[in-house]
């Protein structure tokens, strides 16, 4: 379970998070929505300890992430898969080596037979052919890079998967493929997922619950149905743009 209480963060004079309270229950998929530049990715990086809060607590399975020591943090991160916005694949390594780095158990990491099988499994889980393992990130399309990023994140069999804008920059067809993948991985692997997105359509399709972050605060958390009937002015304003879009109904 992930719990954020009163999390505050500022960069220079800019207040990015201003007392965020946010909960994710075990086994659910939560979409964290909000306009661009509102600190969604910053919030997600707090969960994995890549950014420390100025104030507030971040509890993951009752462990306070911002107070973990170096070794504890490394062990903690082995239970979390993080999918970066643009994949963040290591350019100098092929896909196989990229996915191998996701294997958190050192014995398994050094067992080349296990590595070969695990890379194949992870590629299959994200609908990629085994021959992709030998390619370098520069040889992959945007959609493939995102899927390899997901394959790397699941290689260590994490309990939580955090997606940072998994569909940004993709055409609608590829965005749908990624959305389906997020849904399928949550069901097949039983992982708890948090997906940062400004794609309302995808969020409604994939998530059990939604949260809206604007002006440094979570203004609403609830089910898609609760969002649809909400009279909160910021929620209505955020959703209206997409309701007017004919693709939403589809």
């Amino acid at each position: 379970m992930i719990q954020l209480r009163g999390v505050k963060k500022r960069f220079g004079s800019q207040i990015v998070l201003d007392g965020v309270d946010f909960d994710v229950q075990e086994g659910e998929t939560v979409a964290l929505m909000g306009p661009s530049g509102t600190g969604k990715s910053v919030l997600l990086k707090h969960v994995i300890g890549l950014i420390k809060p100025d104030a507030g607590t971040i509890l993951v399975d009752e462990r306070d992430v911002s107070h973990l020591k170096r070794r504890e943090l490394a062990e903690f991160r082995s239970h979390i898969g993080y999918v970066f916005q643009n994949g963040a694949l290591f350019d100098s390594m092929d896909v196989s080596e990229n996915i191998r780095l996701g294997i958190s158990d050192e014995d398994r990491y050094n067992d080349l037979t296990y590595v070969r099988d695990r890379v194949k499994q992870c590629l299959a889980l994200v609908n990629l052919q085994p021959d992709v393992a030998l390619k370098y990130p520069a040889e992959l399309s945007g959609g493939m890079r995102k899927r390899v990023g997901i394959a790397r994140a699941i290689a260590g069999q994490p309990k939580y998967l955090l997606y940072d804008e998994p569909t940004s920059g993709l055409d609608p067809v590829n965005a749908d493929i990624i959305d389906s993948l997020v849904q399928r991985l949550a069901a097949e692997l039983g992982v708890t997922s948090v997906m940062v997105t400004h794609d309302v359509r995808g969020a409604f399709r994939v998530a059990h619950r939604l949260a809206l972050l604007t002006s440094g605060k979570i203004v609403m958390q609830g089910t898609p149905q609760e969002f649809l009937v909400s009279q909160h002015p910021q929620v209505k304003e955020f959703l209206e743009r997409d309701f007017d879009n004919p693709s939403f109904a589809a």
Binding site: K45, I48, L50, R70, L73, A74, E75, F76, R77, S78, I80, Y82, F84, Q85, N86, A88, L89, F90, D91, L101, G102, S104, R152, G156
Partner: protein, 262 residues
């Protein structure tokens, strides 16, 4: 007038704060790299690859520049001292100039441009494309994967390249002086040996070791501290080359005072 004074004080204050914060972060960064030494299995293969890249990739340019430096030193010595001092002095001056100063300093300055820029640009790009964050998110240490192999490769290969630069510089000086002056091999070797102290060779290597540390650590630190996309990578790269070059010259002065007791 008072406003202008305040503005100057603010600029100086900000500069001092910025410098102090960088020193603090560099210290923390260095300690992190030292901790990364424990993960030998991670950094060893990467260090060998980096050492090969630095060594083989820089060999030609280092040999070329040190050859020209040796040749010019020899020719200028001949020009200045012909008729006033015995010819064997050319051998003394070429060997001393190359080993004590030109070999280590020129090699370090060339490599600050070549290796320093490369490290800062590589790591800076990794920072802005979130590859360093990705490594951390996978529970792996960026220090043992990225910093330790680069710093150790530099600490091994830069002194080795300095030794090669010293040898090629002396050889080029010897050959060029033979072409234009009536200096025999016996004169040159007599001059070279007359004032030679074995400590000079150690001094040259010790200096290059310190230069290697400053080039590699500063460049890796600058790369890791990169912000704001492509422009940030450009700034880090320039910053790495300028800072390590200035530090090389500063260390050169300090080490000369300490090691040669002058």
């Amino acid at each position: 007038m008072a406003t202008r004074t305040l503005a100057i004080e603010r600029v100086i204050g900000n500069w001092v704060l910025d410098a102090a914060s960088n020193v603090g972060r560099l210290t923390y960064f260095t300690l992190d790299a030292i901790r990364g030494l424990a993960e030998v299995k991670i950094w060893w293969p990467r260090m060998l690859a980096e050492a090969w890249n630095i060594g083989v990739g820089s060999l030609f340019i280092v040999a070329l520049i040190s050859s020209f430096a040796g040749a010019v030193t020899a020719l200028q010595t001949g020009y200045q001292f012909t008729g006033s001092l015995p010819y064997y002095i050319v051998g003394t001056l070429v060997v001393s100039s190359i080993v004590l100063e030109l070999g280590p300093v020129l090699t370090a300055l060339i490599l600050a441009g070549r290796i320093g820029a490369r490290y800062a640009a590589e790591l800076g790009t990794m920072r802005v494309t979130e590859q360093i964050d990705a490594l951390e998110s996978l529970g792996r240490s960026p220090a043992s994967h990225l910093v330790v192999p680069r710093v150790l490769a530099g600490l091994i290969m830069i002194p080795a390249l300095t030794i090669i630069a010293n040898l090629t510089g002396i050889l080029a000086g010897w050959l060029s002086v033979k072409l234009v002056l009536p200096v025999t091999d016996a004169d040159f070797t007599y001059g070279a040996q007359s004032y030679w102290r074995p400590w000079d060779a150690w001094y040259s290597v010790i200096k290059s070791f310190f230069f290697a540390g400053s080039i590699t650590l500063i460049s890796c630190y600058m790369g890791f501290s990169t912000q704001q996309g492509a422009e940030g990578v450009g700034k880090s790269t320039t910053g790495a080359v300028v800072t390590s070059s200035v530090l090389i010259l500063l260390l050169d002065t300090v080490l000369t005072r300490l090691l040669l007791n002058q």
